[in-house]
């Protein structure tokens, strides 16, 4: 189980302050202000050796600031940072043993590929022969052979990204920090490099901290990940754990294709579940601290819905409503239906071979209860989710 913990409203393994003494990289109660803006509000994290740890969140949530705090480019106003048990909070970036790959790759335009990669090795005063060997090794590793005499301006985006990675890997860092390194690439290349990165990490056993706003990228790459919002860590855990058991309303809304509807708890069932009424319809949901009579923000994940239950109907709940849209999207059919008496629609993905009723007609859809989560209402998150719906 994870050693990491969120210091946010629902830190999944203890509250702020109770930080594990273990962890290859530890961030303890870090606060960072930029003028009046509070970029990090007491963040705590613990990252294991050899782990690929993703920090995921929307723009402006503080994820890059957190990465820069770990790298030493920003010093926290409060809190501490440990790497391999050593307090590095005030250690300059060049003495931390961490190497960073920047979003824009930061390749030095006046140096060739070879010179860019050899730069860090020369600083380490390696013999020229070893530098040549190391550069050759890393060029080979990243499929860059033959490009060593080119300048960054003569490379494609994908090649530049690889050079940035090669430059960082050449010094064999204990920790590699990556700030959205694939975000400037087109979708196809991004997918290809994502796979290569994962393979490299396994092969070299480097601890990687990977910042991204792309949840698919984070989930596909990470061993564990942290979801951030407004300078706090909402939840830390394995991708599947976060996806299946989102501890907070924000994590639930943020991960996956989701709909949010407002309802009221009308009863409890076994297994800590509740029955919620949304409009004139009632269905079951996983309970997150609600009691009968409470207002509920209900998050429904789109996947797993069917017109007929798969196998026994246990584990499913039925959502009824009028169909407004049914779109065939290749791998699934997107169905939007408004529960009777409710103002908001729920989006559900049906298998591609389903035959949903046409728009305007009523539908009964079976949805796995584990895909429906009910939380206390948080006005801001509800408002933002409704605006984006």
């Amino acid at each position: 189980m994870s050693l990491g913990q969120g210091a946010g409203p629902a830190g999944n393994e203890g509250g702020a302050g109770e930080v594990s003494r273990k962890g290859f990289i530890r961030v303890e109660n870090v606060v960072k202000r930029f003028g009046r803006t509070l970029a990090l509000r007491g963040v705590s994290l613990s990252i294991e050796e050899g782990e690929l740890f993703a920090i995921l969140g929307p723009s402006g949530c503080g994820k890059t600031t957190l990465l820069r705090v770990i790298a030493g480019f920003e010093v926290p106003d409060e809190g501490r940072v440990y790497i391999e048990g050593r307090d590095v909070t005030e250690v300059p970036p060049d003495k931390r043993g961490t190497v960073m790959v920047f979003q824009n790759w930061a390749l030095w335009p006046h140096m060739t590929v070879y010179e860019n990669i050899a730069f860090g090795l020369r600083l380490r005063k390696l013999p020229e022969e070893e530098i040549r060997e190391r550069v050759r090794w890393v060029l080979e590793l990243l499929g860059l052979r033959g490009l060593e005499n080119r300048y960054p301006g003569q490379l494609s985006g994908g090649q530049q990204q690889r050079v940035a990675l090669a430059r960082a890997l050449a010094v064999k860092p204990r920790v590699l920090l990556l700030d959205e390194p694939l975000s400037n690439l087109d979708a196809k290349l991004r997918l290809k490099l994502r796979g290569e990165l994962k393979k490299l990490q396994r092969q070299l056993g480097i601890t990687m901290v990977y910042v991204t706003h792309d949840q698919e990228e984070a989930m596909s790459l990470a061993d564990r990940m942290a979801v951030m919002r407004d300078g706090i860590v909402e939840q830390v855990g394995a991708p599947m754990e976060l996806y299946r058991s989102p501890a907070t309303l924000f994590t639930a809304v943020f991960l996956g294709r989701t709909s949010l509807v407002l309802g009221r708890v009308v009863g409890t069932t076994r297994d800590a579940r509740v029955r919620v009424r949304v409009g004139d319809t009632e269905f079951e949901a996983v309970n997150h601290g609600l009691g009968v009579g409470d207002d509920a923000a209900v998050v429904v994940k789109a996947d797993g819905a069917r017109l007929e239950p798969k196998g026994a109907p246990e584990g499913y709940t039925v959502i009824e409503g009028r169909v407004s849209v049914a779109m065939y999207l290749g791998s699934f059919i997107e169905l939007r239906l408004a529960p009777r008496g409710a103002k908001t629609e729920i989006m559900l993905d049906l298998p591609p071979d389903s035959s949903p009723p046409p728009p305007g007609e009523e539908a009964r859809v079976y949805v796995p209860v584990e895909n429906i989560h009910a939380y206390p209402v948080e006005e801001r998150i509800v408002r933002e989710a409704m605006e984006q719906a």
Partner: protein, 633 residues
């Protein structure tokens, strides 16, 4: 919970950055702020404001600004038109002249910039080149030539009267016209011609970075002509016009050349200059300190107001460039007519002094309508005399010495300050930003006087007492310090612009790989910014060479231009050759003797200076890959 509070990143508090930030700051405070404050504390003669010699808005001040009369001269009927302006006293004149010159320069500079930067028409390139010509600094000689073209002579033609008489009044009216400027009006017209290009070049730079889509969108929505200019283009270039105008105001306040050549001495700048030596004897100290403080306030207030609006950092934004510059719209027939009939004569008139300076450099003098060219066998006499006349040669050597000494410090301090302003997030970075550009806003005469007071008069500085400072060597060091601090801003801002344009991630990537700050600077920052740094340094160099205020005051403390041991630089020599003209004789190969006036030697010196300026501007523009937006004297 650990709650150790820190405000600064270790990235920004290594030893190197501390030195880069605080050393220039210390130098600027001790070498610039403190001396100026030492003048301000001596400003006690505030009664001058009530003295009509200094401030006068009575009826007499407005008497006869223009005199028109018809006379018979040598049997010819002549219309005499003497435009002399007003006389508001020393302080009043300075403020009135500076305001008039600034307003006129803003209108003229913006108009020429819009015409040549926004419209496409035949001859546009010629207009652009001509408009740049007055930017070449030919201190004093330029103004002297303006007097030959425009100054009222009473009983003889100036160039303007000659052209008007021969082309219009004599053929059509049968009379000559002797029209010209004198007094306050002469100073105003000379300064407009000298300084309007500063607004022009700033407005043009602002126009050059306006995103084409902003204008295309307006055109697309149907905006044309005056509406397009007034509603879209002008508001976009207002920052450039304001920045240029502020500089013109300051330059006009401190200008000595126009008052000296038009012999209109009732202005603050000339008062400080003429009483400079006497100030050491302390009887004039309070009044000069008061006038200096008034000049300082008059320069700083508009500067701060404009800075609030746009900040000097505006230039950094300027040079970042727009995604695509607008290529221009075609000028209509009426516009073309206005360009050639109204703007071209103005642009030609403003460029004429520079051409006149070059012509004078090959002449014996300029007594009558046009300069009298030297005979072919002695055509280069004036240039030869620069080396042959001891005092003039001394001034060239002095200039080179000052340049060589100051440029090393300008390079070091300028790089440190420019880098620290763009990268250090420490207390004092904002102050350094302000102080490193402040020398542009402080009139040179105030700086010169403050150094005189600080190093020779002020009791706190007894160590550097009058006797010590009066020695030539000590005063030369004071001059070098003045050059360093006055011309530092050009390098600081060039470095700042270059560094800020280089993504900080490039430095962070190197630090992340283990490089210390100095290594990052030598391997990453300098290779990427050297062009901008050298361009800024070259500009600083050219402004050291052409510096006037400090050179003609502090530089005059060890004898005049004919003394072989004087400590004055080139500009000092030029002023003295103009202000105290002498005639020397040349023996031609045939034995014939020829009288040559010292103004012509001054013109040769100025021509040499302009040639260096052309070379430096070309090299620095090429290096920085952009025009230099800010020009000052």
């Amino acid at each position: 919970m650990s709650t150790v509070k820190r405000r600064f990143s270790p990235l920004h508090v290594d030893a190197e950055i501390l030195v880069f930030l605080y050393l220039p700051l210390l130098v600027l405070i001790l070498g610039f702020v403190v001396p100026i404050l030492s003048v301000v504390i001596h400003a006690t003669a505030w009664g001058v404001i009530n003295n009509p010699t200094y401030f006068d808005i009575s009826k007499e001040a407005f008497a006869e600004p223009v005199l028109v009369q018809t006379s018979e001269i040598g049997g010819h009927s002549v219309i005499q038109v003497k435009i002399r302006g007003f006389d508001f006293g020393v302080i009043g004149n300075s403020l009135f002249i500076a305001t008039s010159v600034t307003l006129a320069s803003a209108v003229l500079g913006a108009a020429v910039a819009l015409l040549t930067g926004f419209y496409l028409f035949p001859g546009r390139r010629v207009f652009r080149v001509l408009a740049f010509v007055p930017l070449l600094i030919a201190p004093f000689v330029n103004s002297y030539v303006v007097t030959r073209i425009l100054m009222y002579k009473g009983t003889d033609y100036n160039v303007l009267s000659f052209l008007l008489s021969k082309m219009f009044t004599e053929p059509f009216l049968g009379r000559s016209i002797y029209i010209g400027f004198t007094g306050q009006a002469g100073v105003i017209i000379a300064q407009i011609l000298m300084f309007y290009p500063i607004v022009y070049i700033n407005a043009l730079a602002a126009l050059g970075v306006v995103d084409a889509t902003l204008i295309e969108q307006a055109l697309n929505l149907g905006a044309r002509g005056w509406t397009l200019l007034r509603r879209i283009v002008l508001p976009l270039i207002i920052p450039g016009i304001l920045a240029g105008s502020t500089l013109v105001f300051i330059l006009s306040l401190e200008d000595l050349a126009a008052p000296v050549t038009f012999k209109f001495y009732k202005v603050i700048s000339y008062f400080i200059y003429s009483k400079f030596q006497a100030a050491r004897a302390s009887s004039y100290l309070p009044i000069i300190a008061t006038l200096s403080t008034i000049m300082l306030a008059a320069a700083l207030i508009p500067m701060f107001l404009v800075r609030r609006y746009l900040s000097l950092r505006y230039y950094a934004k300027l040079t970042r460039g727009a995604p695509r510059a607008f290529r221009g719209v075609r000028l209509g027939r009426r516009g073309l007519l206005a360009a050639y009939l109204l703007v071209l004569p103005m642009v030609l008139l403003a460029a004429a002094p520079q051409f006149g300076v070059v012509a004078l450099a090959f002449s014996r003098g300029w007594e009558h309508v046009f300069p009298s060219l030297l005979p072919r066998e002695a055509l280069l006499y004036n240039f030869k005399s620069l080396i042959e006349v001891d005092g003039i040669r001394r001034s060239i050597l002095n200039s080179l010495y000052y340049l060589g000494s100051s440029i090393v410090f300008i390079a070091l301090l300028g790089f440190m300050a420019g880098y620290a302003i763009s990268r250090a997030r420490l207390p004092g970075a904002g102050l350094l930003d302000l102080l490193s550009s402040a020398p542009l806003a402080v009139p040179g005469l105030v700086v010169a006087f403050s150094y005189l007071v600080f190093f020779t008069v002020h009791p706190v500085n007894h160590l550097l007492s009058l006797a010590a400072a009066a020695s030539a060597a000590a005063m030369m060091h004071v001059l070098i310090l003045a050059y360093i601090l006055r011309k530092l801003p050009f390098t600081v801002r060039a470095v700042f612009t270059s560094v800020i344009q280089t993504p900080e991630e490039l430095e962070e990537a190197a630090r992340s790989l283990g490089a210390r700050r100095m290594r990052v600077i030598s391997r990453i920052v300098l290779p990427l910014t050297w062009r901008g740094v050298v361009a800024g340094l070259l500009l600083s160099a050219i402004y050291v060479l052409s510096e006037v205020s400090v050179s003609v005051t502090l530089g005059a403390l060890n004898g005049d231009v004919y003394s072989p041991t004087h400590i004055g630089p080139i500009t000092f020599a030029i002023l003295q050759l103009i202000e105290m003209p002498r005639v020397s004789t040349v023996r031609l190969p045939g034995g014939r003797l020829l009288a040559v006036s010292s103004e012509a030697q001054a013109a040769a010196l100025a021509t040499m200076l302009m040639l260096i300026e052309v070379a430096v501007i070309m090299v620095s523009t090429r290096l920085a890959r952009r025009g230099q937006a800010l020009v000052t004297v």
